[in-house]
């Protein structure tokens, strides 16, 4: 599945999206933290279909996933 990256996370990864296969949000975070250097020490939220998901949730691969660093609007 395609994972959208933003802000300082996109900068760390050197990309605005990555392709990853995972069966749950928990597994996805593990994969992403392996792939993106320093992500495990960063503050970020995971959005599934444009909603922030905090608990572990199953993924079918059809979702729109995004990794969101701290917000800075305004």
């Amino acid at each position: 599945m395609k994972v959208l990256l933003f802000g300082m996370i996109a900068e760390k990864a050197g990309a605005t999206e990555v392709d990853i296969t995972a069966v749950s949000t928990h597994a996805l975070k593990g994969e992403l933290e392996q792939r993106i250097p320093g992500l495990d020490r960063m503050s970020y939220a995971l959005a599934v279909d444009r909603r922030i998901v905090k608990e572990d949730a199953p993924l079918t691969g059809q979702e729109e996933i995004a990794l969101l660093p701290p917000f800075a609007g305004g």
């Binding site: 802000g7 800075a72 609007g73």
Partner: protein, 164 residues
Amino acid sequence: MSGEKTHKQRDIFVEGAIPASFIAESIAKHASRTDIGGHEIFLGQVRADQQPGTNNHQRTVAIDYTAYRDMANEQMTFIREEAFARWPQMTCLHVHHSQGIIKAGELCFMVFASAPHRQQAREAVAFVTDEVKKRLPIFGKEIFAEGGHVWKTNDLRDAGSSPA
């Protein structure tokens, strides 16, 4: 009452700074709505912060704003619905946020509410401004005069007293 209250999703993002003339035109457009008794406007301006943690207290000359646009616009629709539920007499609410590089001193954010009486417009603008800062996935890269950058993070511990 008007199309304003149907809450269809809109795109709040504008490329570059918000010109002062755009705000004047926004005000002028409301002249035909004679049921309005007051407008309240919040304008966010890019501040030339000194970064205490950096060499020579580097100074911000611009912020490069990016956003997860689909989610931000969807969240804005929810915030708009909440605002109209809390202040049902509000006549209209307009929100715009910049994308791209905005120089210090330029405007990057506008919240504009109108209502028959001032209290509803005032309270709605305060609420919407804080919720946008909390809930919209907008990211800001503060660019230094001397080169380099830092990622801006909104301080949400006390939205009432946080820096704009």
